[in-house]
């Protein structure tokens, strides 16, 4: 079960002259899926980065659960190009050794097969963009984390692949705090009973 809630309190965030968030407040309850939608450039990714601790607000407060273990997908995958898919997925479990490592490797291989990825010794630089995205999703959902942050994880995937990925991913989200950023309203139907939010005009509204 996940820890406490994530919260934004009257948060302001500017990039130079550009105001992205202007007094945004929202409380993301723990153990639930939250879908953040909104037009491009509305500040969805900024919200995610603030909640992940990768940005500091110019004003207001970001509340994160103490000792929260996070996992995240980024828009640009952020894989270690010269390592295999399994080595990338295992990155948050860098200390595994012996039987634990073997057990996790077996789980990784099953996960790769489940989402339609090859199990081989190629570095991920040799994979296609769609395949790399799936590796990044697996790294996130197989991390031992309380809160999972997804930044447009299914962008550019065809419907068949989306179904294949979500069949594997959805059961793993149960009981965890999920923050799912998308601009595609259809994605809210892929998650179990999500809380919907809209990011617009520098604010966050319950949808």
């Amino acid at each position: 079960m996940s820890g406490g809630a994530f919260e934004l309190r009257r948060v302001e965030k500017n990039y130079g002259e550009l105001s992205v968030l202007a007094g945004a407040s929202a409380r993301f309850e723990a153990g639930r899926a939250h879908v953040l939608m909104g037009p491009s450039g509305a500040g969805k990714t900024t919200v995610l980065r603030l909640l992940a601790g990768l940005e500091t607000p110019d004003a207001g407060e970001v509340v994160r659960p103490a000792d929260a273990r996070l996992a995240m997908t980024f828009q640009d995958d952020r894989l270690l190009d010269n390592l295999t898919a399994t080595a990338n997925v295992r990155l948050p479990h860098a200390r595994l050794r012996g039987a634990d490592l073997e057990a996790f490797l077996a789980r990784e291989r099953a996960a790769l097969v489940a989402v339609g990825l090859p199990v081989d010794s190629r570095p991920v630089r040799d994979l296609s963009g769609g395949q790399r995205r799936r590796v990044a999703i697996l790294r996130c959902v197989l991390a031992d984390a309380d809160a999972l942050l997804f930044d447009e994880p299914l962008k550019g995937m065809d419907e068949k692949t989306v179904a294949q990925v979500m069949d594997y991913v959805t059961p793993l989200l149960a009981g965890k705090t999920v923050l799912w950023v998308t601009h595609d309203p259809r994605e809210k139907d892929l998650l179990p009973d999500p809380v919907l939010w809209t990011v617009r005009d520098g604010l966050i509204f319950p949808a």
């Binding site: 601790g53 996070l70 995240m72 980024f74 270690l80 295999t84 990155l91 948050p92």
Partner: protein, 263 residues
């Protein structure tokens, strides 16, 4: 194209490249022999056949192998020390700007000062038997330091953010995030530093004249106008250098491939 056809095409291409290289070497060997015949003065120039004969003689002696081993051991120790300290200092400099600022003039000086000046200076401070160790160290250090610093600086900020989110710290962060970016720079530095350390180390031996080393034999050959030996030892230096470079490069390449392909 079928895979077997690809492979045979690749093999044919490699053979062609090697054939062209061998032909070029053969051309220069023939030219060298012809010039030796024309000059016809053994003190000034001997042909490759005579050099080869002298080299075969030398290789048959225990003194040859003892000298190669002594030079290799000392220069190798200095080189390994230079690589290790270059990596450690680069890591410290990348973390602490004050270390980087302090080391900048030192590394600049190490790169700019001629080897001969270092050899003479270092001879004032250490025995001649340790001279090549220090000189090889001095040659390797700034190259490895500069390249590793560059590799660390080139590490993708996005990957470091990713490591932050996943709570990757300390050695895991170095092993998984930094190493990937630094390894190509490190490999290039090792390759370059190895050749320079070897050549500079031998030059130091020629000046310092420690017993039973390649440098001492080179010096003796020059003093006694033993030109075939001079050439033969030079060939030995080149062969050892090429072999070292090939072995280290292959070992690093194999280690890198194994690391990349691990599940």
């Amino acid at each position: 194209m079928p895979r077997s056809a690809d492979k045979s095409h690749e093999t044919g291409g490699r053979l062609g490249t090697w054939g062209a290289r061998l032909l070029a070497v053969a051309f220069w060997l023939v030219a060298w022999q012809l010039v030796a015949w024309v000059v016809d003065a053994r003190i000034i120039l001997v042909g490759p056949l005579e050099v080869l004969a002298r080299l075969v003689e030398l290789v048959g002696t225990g003194e040859f192998w003892a000298s190669v081993a002594t030079s290799l051991g000392r220069i190798g120790a200095g080189f390994v020390g230079g690589v290790a300290s270059g990596v450690a200092l680069a890591a410290a400099a990348s973390r602490l700007p004050v270390v980087r600022a302090l080391l900048a003039p030192v590394m600049g000086a190490l790169k700019a000062v001629p080897v001969a000046s270092f050899v003479i200076l270092v001879l004032l401070w250490v025995s001649s038997s340790n001279l090549s160790v220090v000189i090889a160290w001095i040659m390797a250090l700034p190259i490895v330091y500069t390249n590793v610093c560059e590799g660390i600086a080139q590490t993708d900020a996005g990957l470091l953010e990713m490591a932050d989110v996943f709570g990757l710290t300390g050695l895991d962060r170095v092993r998984l995030v930094y190493l990937a970016r630094v390894l190509p720079y490190f490999r290039a530095a090792v390759s370059l530093a190895l050749g320079l350390s070897w050549k500079a180390g031998i030059a130091a031996e020629v000046i310092g004249l420690p017993d039973l080393t390649i440098g001492e034999h080179l010096y003796d050959a020059k003093v006694y106008l033993d030109t075939p030996s001079l050439f033969a030892w030079t060939v030995a230096i080149v062969v050892v250098s090429a072999a070292l470079s090939a072995v280290v490069d292959r070992a690093l390449g194999a280690a890198l491939r194994r690391w990349e392909a691990r599940p």
